[in-house]
Symmetry: D2
Subunit: 351 residues, 4 copies
């Protein structure tokens, strides 16, 4: 009930603060007998870790994971898998300035209001670093989904006002912003670098596609597949909105336009985004999320301190001027978790 | 795990099919000793029921609720409240045509894929009628929230391409589309009536504002307040997207624009929509949802039947050409449920 | 979290007070496509209802159930089944004397302490009548378990100091106390009738056997099969203890005596009661529960009223002098719920 | 749903195998701002660790805990506390003999049946070592309960047929078996040593008393306080039964004997064990559990191997001939977890 767990039949619990000793995750409900090793998970960690490119935070975290339990002789045992990441490049002293101030856009104020105290170092639990555990767990889910023939891919659709105009899947992992359009990617990188030099930041749109999911996933009425995907995405700090299929554009469409007609080969369109009535149609599941601009900027901003005094604040530290490139693997991870959970829930219902 | 329950500390479970004997809800976790009677709940039911105006379905459901348990001598007892609504104006025979066909945009196909059989009458469990139980439960939550000084209001922001340009709260319940701009409302009504005559339908945008919530609500990291609100909204059949505060527009903003600065009086803006790091800021919580056009239209569309044969289908029945007016109280109800649940969860944490 | 739900993959939620309008249950997670009708459930209701024999309460409740949802054309649809029982033979006025007094052994005092108010009529929610919903739900679980080849039988092992000395399964439903030894049954009936005449009551031991369960059910480490069975049984008001297999006698045994050895045909003994390490062994699952004497007696007892004044109280009303005969179907129902839930959970894990 | 978590408002998740890299626990829902340090927790770990005395296993585990998260500058932050214990004195090779055999009384057979494979080293997840995480979490709960004025004490009541005849609380931690009667303790120690020399083992009874709990804890109807305590206790591998207050003796009592009468000073007796209708009465909560004899004995026993071949087996290793002394802190820990959880749940209900 305190909020650090996600999923039901396939359930994860994360722990850890950005500049504490370690972050990590427990994954419970893993199918036994599935081959799993650390390198498989590490691949995903490396996509999320800082310091990948010129457009990401220069913090040096190797994000080397260790599996502490639940895997024996290279196979899952069906018992909880604990994955640990020690924090290494911690510089808590870099945060002493903000110990008593509220950085605009950050959760400093709300954490203090909620808990009455906070670990201010690098945003503590509110840090994007908490998502490392999610990505590790997502890799385990991905392994299970591979057996089911599911693939999940996310990518940058727009950054700082620059939108992709083509979808070239093979290009996504070849550019630093993980955009699906290589030409737009170049402009995005320039835009980010320019903003970074100015001490500013920008947001973007990330899209995610889930392929191979059978029809029938999702539990009416509250645990609809789209409802759980929405929750999973909004649980990522920087995400401020989500839309499925036609999404907000559906508001301007007619029923005759939006309805996905069918013929003997299946659906003739996919305005629903692969989910109708909260249940997967068998079509590609597609959704987009809005990513806000990174809150940490070095342009002076108005704020108050814990005594209520007004002041100007400049957020120092090693930050990503745009979080889209590194949020892509987090989005994929959360989507993997939701899908694997719903496969297991569906199996329970039918049993 | 099967999906018909929502909430943790304040938890509801709904049941019932559109043309079965009854629909209803159990509400568990209600604070004892609070005055509650049927007329208070009925007010909200009447806002949701069909047949309210020229732009809603002419189905005649009085939606008269009965409290079967959990209230004694006009006060809540702390035990589960069951609220029942008998279905009265059922015409299952009207659906015999679609027993073996999949209506485009409806959950006919996905339910059959999931369960292997379906109650086709009026969409069965996938019907908007299921939300009657939610609205009843939401009224109970609203009663509890009143003690906390919380008010929640939703309203139509756009329908069929016509957007509100002013926000006049007192006008919302005075027009048939529950729009916040009386002039836009007139155009919306004309638009809906015109589409209805053409056998077509349209979608829209509904906005919701939650006022009076203290700072500190929401449970990091997965059960963020916005994550739970997002799930609650996407659990409503017709909703295809949600955004908080600046929402998707945040994708095009700079950090220096999006961050909500503070002075001694509080926040200087509310691009975050009243939630930062998943925790309420004390500001107004504001979000918008995308409502798809009603799936039931009387324009012929391509589909298949359960044998896979292609056919043209016309969806008869008594439908809303635009569901926005009647979805408003459902959105408010879900928001009430989320808020009350999070108040209770917060109390548990601090205890 | 408020406690009126039980189970995870197969989940029930009960509602209703003894002398309110109705009691009932929602069952979520029911496998779709299974034949189910009201008479099948009614058979179990009739085993639980009052007025069955000379040794049960003369309250006249026909306990006629109605299925309100989740079954269509004689088959489960996979959506929630709501089962309702109207209360008919209510005599709330019979309880006006105790409105302001605490009956010894009853939950009057604790409910008032917890909630600050209470529905005193017939113990309200604390009444054994609440178990009617459980028995209805248990019948649905039993239907699902039949497909798996599971049978569950409970019976009286001892009442008022008289113990069964033989186990004749075919006799259980043939005597009014549901004892497994027909000669002991006769003595038990005499004992109960004699106590009833004296205005007193007695307790007993009920044993339950679950046959046909595969090896492998139960989720280490907290949701062990015996842990969940123990919780389910202690959730029944009158039950004060449970033991599996050798149970408390194991405390006096040596390891060499208690360990169940194996040969190629299986286990050579069943001191574990069919569950080792929280997981079913494939052996018969066997446990016993301690049933306290009925709290309602007409012998004057010392108590206080809500003002704290001391008084003598005599509990009038229509009570069972020994609840064992009627608790048997409740125990079976709870065991059915636990088993079906664990089958489904196991299926989710392996999927 | 996979079973490695316990509690709702105060929730723990354990992980780890006996001879894997580490065992540990995540605790979520901890009240923020409470002073907590490692030595406070270590005190409880030292009561559970092996090698304490002549009657416990000689395995050398220092059980040195490390808090990885959730505590900052000596205070809880309200975020999840992860506590890790590295396994140090692992001798997996000692278990190579039993890799393909099923030790009687152990979960070897059931784990293999459930999961299709198992980590056989020291019983893997089924080892008593898993309870180390519970004791650590229980210490955190104990800290929170101290603020509420709650104390929880468990002690050996009987071992190997020798029962305590007095209750001298101050003696409990002064004897190696944690018995409440120092003279009986001496006999118990002799009995255990004698059995150990013979390669055999014995069981016992442990009693637990919870003092200072307010009236009103426990959530009807399924999450009764006794139901949750029962589940928590039966989730401990060696425990085969539980009884509250008069317990199984209630089966032979009359209503006039068992009912706890009241006068202006409170209850005149406590046959109910401090819980009526699933809700605490304010009286001392008292229950007893049956502890089975340790399964690991060095007397040859009949079993089969994974190929089904019959064989004689002798369980080598470093085992406790009677687990009662070391199970005492585990029982206290689980009781602490249940109480803290129910305090928080009660706070949520009333809020």
């Amino acid at each position: 009930m305190a909020g650090s767990s996600f999923g039901e039949a396939f359930r994860i619990s994360t722990f850890g603060e950005s500049h504490g000793e370690a972050v990590g995750v427990i994954i419970d409900g893993v199918t036994p007998g599935v081959e799993l090793d650390e390198p498989y998970i590490q691949v995903q960690m490396d996509r999320r870790k800082p310091g990948q490119s010129s457009v990401t935070s220069p913090r040096k975290e190797y994000d080397r994971i260790r599996i502490l339990s639940g895997v024996y002789e290279g196979k899952t045992t069906g018992t909880p898998i604990c994955i640990l990441l020690n924090n290494t490049d911690m510089r808590p002293e870099a945060y002493s300035d903000i110990q008593h101030s509220f950085r605009p856009g950050h959760a400093d104020y709300t954490y203090l209001q909620k808990y009455g105290l906070r670990d201010h170092r690098g945003s503590g639990r509110a840090s994007g670093r908490e998502t490392a555990g999610r990505v590790a767990a997502g890799a385990v889910a991905r392994k299970l989904l591979e057996r089911r023939g599911i693939s999940i891919v996310a990518y940058t659709k727009a950054i700082g006002g620059i939108a992709c105009e083509t979808f070239v899947e093979s290009e996504i992992e070849r550019n630093a912003v993980r955009a699906c359009d290589p030409e737009a990617a170049l402009q995005m990188i320039q835009r980010i670098e320019s903003l970074a030099r100015a001490g500013n930041s920008c947001g973007g749109i990330v899209e995610c596609r889930i392929r191979g999911a059978v029809a029938g996933l999702g539990e009416p009425v509250f645990d609809k597949l789209d409802a759980d995907l929405a929750k999973s995405m909004l649980s990522i700090g920087a995400i401020k909105g989500i839309e499925f299929g036609a999404g907000f554009a559906a508001a301007d469409m007619l029923g005759s336009e939006h309805n996905d007609e069918m013929n003997a080969d299946g659906f003739l369109s996919n305005h629903a985004g692969g989910i109708i009535g909260g249940i997967s149609t068998g079509n590609e599941i597609i959704f987009r999320v809005a990513v806000k601009p990174t809150s940490s900027i070095s342009i002076p901003q108005h704020t108050i301190n814990t005594s209520g005094d007004e002041q100007l604040i400049v957020t120092e530290g090693r930050h990503d001027p745009c979080i889209c490139p590194r949020i892509v693997p987090v989005i994929e991870a959360m989507a993997c978790l939701v899908l694997e959970d719903h496969y297991k829930r569906h199996a329970a219902l039918l049993d």
